[in-house]
Symmetry: C2
Subunit: 221 residues, 2 copies
């Protein structure tokens, strides 16, 4: 009853992560999954649709990770978790970040969808900064308009680091294979972007949690 649908989505994601989106045709997917190309097209009307279904998971995980559990204010644990979630997604869907432009150019609906996610995310990140200010754990310069400008800048830079980290590491490690641990520096780099404005105690606590989480992840993967 379940059929191969789930297996295909998950297998395609894995394969594209390993070999890159453009190197992963429907034939190779079917081959790697040990099913026939025909079977693949029974479950999905096109390759595009497979990518779209994978993207939906990326999007859902990301939105959830950015929104959940900030109602009672942001603890150092919660703050560190933002970065953990972010780099987890960048790793789990690295094929997408590596081929963003081509994937979006090939599918208008996907492009619109990602455009909305980007806009939404920049807002959400700004709100997180604002929330940290409100609860006194972040202090931005109060000069006229400066705080608002800086909030936007932190949000945008965090986003840009997030989307580019995979490309950067792939260049750096051209010959050897990427491992999950390569993401850790990216998380720290994103964290560092914000840390100058954080309350010292809060910053210390959050960094400690982030570092131990990253080590834990590395040990598992």
């Amino acid at each position: 009853m379940a059929g191969n649908r789930e297996k295909i989505i998950e297998g395609a994601r894995r394969l594209m992560n390993r070999e890159g989106s453009s190197a992963t045709g429907t034939t190779r997917m079917a081959e790697a999954l040990e099913i026939s190309p025909g079977n693949l097209y029974y479950h999905f009307k096109s390759r595009e649709e497979i990518v779209a279904r994978i993207y939906e998971r990326l999007e859902a995980t990301f939105r959830e990770g950015l929104v959940a559990g900030t109602g009672d204010g942001i603890t150092p644990e919660r703050f560190a978790d933002f970065y953990i979630v972010a780099i987890g997604i960048a790793w789990d869907y690295r094929f997408f970040f590596a081929s963003q432009t081509d994937l979006l150019a090939a599918d208008d609906a996907l492009a619109r969808r990602h455009r909305e996610l980007q806009a939404w995310s920049l807002n959400a990140l700004e709100e997180i900064v604002a929330l940290l200010e409100k609860q006194g754990t972040a202090l931005l310069p109060k000069a006229r308009g400066e705080a608002a400008r800086l909030r936007k800048s932190i949000a945008l830079n965090t986003w840009l680091l997030w989307i580019s980290w995979i490309s950067f590491v792939k260049v750096e490690k051209a010959e050897s294979d990427l491992v999950r641990g390569d993401m850790a520096r990216g998380a720290v780099q994103m964290f560092d972007l914000f840390s100058p404005w954080l309350d010292t105690e809060f910053e210390k606590a959050a960094r400690k949690i982030l570092n131990s989480e990253l080590e834990r992840m590395d040990a598992v993967a």
Copy 2:
């Protein structure tokens, strides 16, 4: 005597910028240049080679722009010029930044080459920061090891912003066409990354020059 060689390199760059690398096959190149596919293969042994020749220009322009004219110290003019050069390249070779990973995955020699450029560039950027410190126009926190860490961080963030800006703007402007003016915000975003550590007078002067240069560029293009 000159033949079509130059015309092909320049035409391929233009076409790939407009339609994206993966959408620009050798057939389409020949068509757009109004020459035959055969002629194209007389001048270049493969599509890869065309891309490699284009990349060489990107690389040369970039290295030159990052190194030239710092012997007598860095003036606000020279400092602003770094960003002008950087975004000029990001614009002129935007096809490369948009499809980096796929292009490098398809050509090992190119991947190695770009890997060296990335490493070299991070060093060069660090040196620029150090130079600004030495001449007293940048002030980084002196706490043990902090300055070195921050120099590296500024260099890396600047690089990451540079390589990701095009992807970001392409998502934002999904339906309409990109224009050169879309790059201006990227330059400012990169500049902002460094500005908190700059001497106030120097920062003001450099920002003013940067802004007027960006306006000038926009008016021309």
